[in-house]
Symmetry: D2
Subunit: 354 residues, 4 copies
């Protein structure tokens, strides 16, 4: 087969294989040439925090950290007493893909099976009802991701329902926003940072997966959770001596909306992928409007596709089909998507010939 | 007074106020434009590790982490069983300035008072002798810094003595190398990475304080300590999704010795500072050959100096004098040192006039 | 209704409501009047350990601890590195009823759903297969209880299969023996302490639930796991100053087989309960040969029964029936069982009248 | 030499070598024959707690735990956030003799050198002043023992000064009362449980070292510290299934003042020891009014004494003399003290003959 992929395979593996957007690199070069205060007390971090706060419509503390697992563990270690537990979807990143980071800080993660990676009051309630008395951990914080590990997103109504439920039941609501940019720029999304800040006690705005070299902005809305938070950052080894490295990048992301522009591109590329798959008659495992797409393909097709495209295998169903994950990013070129279309058509045709 | 400090004060506060050396920024820009494998499995990290290993003369695992406190806590959490303790100088970074990060991972830090921040077999022995039986923690790892928090450095003989003592007593030797570059390039230094790797079970090569935006290279020499180390990195939130951010910088630092060139400059600037102070008759609190200088000055002089120079107050002696810390870096301009000479002469003259 | 329960309700709630067998109290009184070495180094603990070792047919360390949760957490904290996880049945005591004690020591508990509280290689394998690489915890220890929380017991063949599987897969096998006495004395049991010691790396012999005031004997068979274990006991607050309090009781339990006599009685009382239930046509939720019986009764019958009998509600099925747990102990009088028979007949008749 | 020690050596080693006072054993036998609720919710624990509360003159939660190290670690784990540290005397039990139990729960223990094991505002202040900012742990709780590890005791005035200082500085005051009985019954003592409860946020009343088989009563006065405390007890493996084992013993200790009678005897025996030593011209290392006596003796005398008497070596001074610890208990017979007098006279005479 002759497909114009100029040797390199089409990369749809994840959204952190590429580095930073040029404007962020530029901002970093400028800040790097200055003398800045250390440990996140620099002017870039301060300005980036102010830019984020402007979008919240309320007061909040904003801390810049290096990565998602780190942000989750620092936040939860700070927020919980030793016997307090987290409720998370079984597919949640903290439950499956952080090597027990939350447990290493002493807290149990209680998991709830979900159809699509999203939690709701109805899904949480049985977990709460099942925990009572001092022989069991005390559920105290609800962890969700937006978008989720299945690429699904929460509507404003869903977040409000969750927020209300949490407030009614003495639970904190924490949102892992590794891919928040993608969630907030999907077609039909009615959530913004202000709405999120109105429901969540804390959440983070992911940079690593949306155009930064590294960095997440943790927003702590609930005043009770803010006390001595920088102590916890330092104690967990998460305070960068040159905090401006993250601060300057977030400044660039938020000073004129680049953050949302980048995610809009990733989403557009994913929408195009869904279109291509649909036209080819390939079913999707889940209806995900964000930058993750989960086609279900015959095992043989998946193996053949692998020669041309980089992707993650998500779930071997054992019925001759496999769910794979295709992921776009701020840097995915349109030409890659079109090349994928050609490859897919070719591989599907090949498979029908047999 | 008319001193040519062009408004900005002379910065001798620390060695992490400036960003990265331009060649590192350049390397980062190049790597950023590529598609790289995530989580430190990229080609830049691999090549940087190989460059470092080349200098060791022996096999070792090399991991790239974001900062010093993080590296210390990940390493010690991985190396120690729950009841095992660390022996550190009382001035050691893990003892004083890491917000109890080691204790947060469950381990006691036993401290030993030292005259100059350095440990020796003679200083360690009483601590070992005082710990026996199951009612006390078991000293298991000796933590030293090179250079130390007092700017002092270890000779080859001293490191060999420590290494031998540790091996004889079932102790691990771990070297915090936040400022290893400065130590290895001081006048008269007879230690190199190969010698260090022959004595220490693990050590790290500091990047943050020697020209990188962020990053330390942890070298694990002892094979027993290598097992599953990447699990611990991930669990502690220390695995960067875009690991090439640190890898590419270390590649630039080690491909042709830039690492040592940068530190040599910092040391030269510090040597010039010592010369200036000596000529002005200012005593030093400790004889430090590296990039930290600790003059003892009358309290009033210290306060006056602060108008022109940024520095850390190290120790108020209560006898009318104060020890301050002057620190140079790879980026300290010679003109700043000369400006400091003028400022110092001026302030001392002023003080004698009263 | 006139039932001869002399005011007090029939107690079938658990096996720790009564105190110690008189012979243990007597042994305690004798030891109490002596001068004994502290911290478990007394002659009674030594002799009790020797009596237990005699039954193992191999060398092992034996430590006496105060309770089951404590024993589990001390053992697992000592045996596991930070990233290593436990595989347990979802119904396992450490998973549900220890307030996250294992997580508080830093380790994730991976749970596996089981039909009857028992694990098997087939049930464990998918959990192992699902965990690979450094982004996930590393399953390292399999936790089972014998008897289980559902009163079921392992056969020799089942334990050998589990032991073999664990050895083949680099897993440790740990047995929670809170109710080991009951398991080892059920009808048809073909497991003894020697067989258990041949398969498990460590296990504990429960005293609290079989005639002691408090106390469990932890047996560590695997030599690798023995190092510095007393340090961990002390560190977790589990070393009794007057260790003879547990030692003397275990000495009394094991010097002539009282341990097994007591459990045989409890089992006989439970067998009689099962007979009574069967004759009354009451189904059992699970076929448990030990001292726990799980009848399934109409909700109304359960509520009525509560006026006469103390028991635990195990599972509300939502279909009008409820599973309750009836538990016997070494101290359950035969007259209570017969009184239960009368009460049950009465309540069932009453219920049919409506 | 012919000394009437009927073979056994005189035991002055510690106050936990003997078992329980007969009245406690009797209470235990009675409670053991009953059916009691589990997990400390029994009538004996309730009554013991009420008896203790009666002496406080204020509300408090009372929890019964098994030992001193356990009580310290459960309390501190419950009271502190992760970055908060404890200030303790360098001689404090948590600092030296608990195998890093507090660090294992994540908290640093900051130690202060003291002349006699006692803390004061003047000794604490420098430690507080030295800790500021997020790079250091935050001192949050002051740990003292009464009596101390040097047998010294706090006066009412000293406790009030400490309590006031702690309240003024946002510090919690916690009192380790392993030997509180002895402290409260020394000659000249002006502290009682009510005064203690007025100053300390929490403290424990030691049973193990004053006539119980095991057991300490933790009193939590500060309402903020009470929330969910039983969760933490369970999580740390410190909740006894048969909680009445400790409850019934404390009931016996407090129902008519036996607790104080026992300690008064121990103190009287220690006073007699001091008298004997003074008459023999033996200096004491510290002036301790409680049940611990610290004579300074020539090394050779110490070695010779060891043939007749059991005691702990406390400090080898390296000047030819050694400090030993002689300790009395509720069970020390007067005849042992008189035998000690004879032995001492003999050994000293012998030593002068040389």
């Amino acid at each position: 087969m002759e497909i114009a992929t100029d040797n390199a395979r089409i990369s749809l593996r994840n959204d952190y294989s590429e580095g930073a957007h040029p404007r962020l690199l530029q901002a970093l070069a400028v800040a790097s040439a200055e003398v800045n205060r250390g440990y996140g007390l620099d002017v870039h971090s301060a300005r980036a925090a102010a830019l984020i706060r402007d979008r919240l419509g309320r007061d909040a503390d904003v801390h810049f950290l290096a990565g998602g697992t780190q942000t989750n563990l620092v936040a939860l270690a700070a927020f919980l007493r030793p016997h307090e537990a987290v409720i998370a979807p079984a597919s949640g990143h903290i439950a499956m893909h952080e090597t027990g980071a939350i447990e290493a800080s002493g807290h149990k993660v209680l998991t709830v099976a979900t159809p699509d990676g999203k939690l709701s009051p109805a899904l949480i309630r049985p977990c709460i009802d099942a925990h009572h008395g001092e022989h069991m951990v005390k559920p105290r914080l609800v962890y969700i991701s937006n978008s989720t590990e299945w690429g699904t997103v929460y509507s404003a109504e869903e977040l409000q329902a969750l927020g209300g439920f949490c407030r009614d039941h003495g639970l904190l609501l924490y949102v892992d926003g590794a891919r928040l940019a993608s969630a907030l720029t999907t077609d039909g999304n009615d959530v913004d940072l202000a709405l999120l800040a109105g429901q969540a006690d804390a959440f983070y705005i992911g940079g690593t997966k949306n155009g930064a070299l590294l960095g997440e902005a943790l927003v702590i809305v609930n005043p009770v959770l803010r006390t001595d938070f920088r102590h916890i950052i330092k104690q967990r080894g998460a305070m960068l001596a040159k905090g401006m490295v993250v601060g300057a990048q977030f400044e660039a992301l938020f000073e004129d909306g680049l953050y949302f522009v980048l995610a809009t591109h990733a989403n557009a590329m994913a929408a195009r992928l869904r279109e291509i798959l649909q036209r080819a008659g390939v079913p999707l495992a889940v209806d995900s409007p964000s930058n993750q797409v989960f086609p279900v393909l015959p095992d043989a097709v998946v193996e053949r596709l692998r020669s041309f495209v980089e992707f993650e295998t998500w779930e071997r169903r054992g019925d001759g089909t496999t769910v794979i994950r295709l992921m776009t990013s701020w840097a995915t070129p349109e030409s890659d998507i079109e090349a994928f279309a050609a490859v897919l058509a070719h591989v599907l045709a090949e498979s029908q010939d047999r």
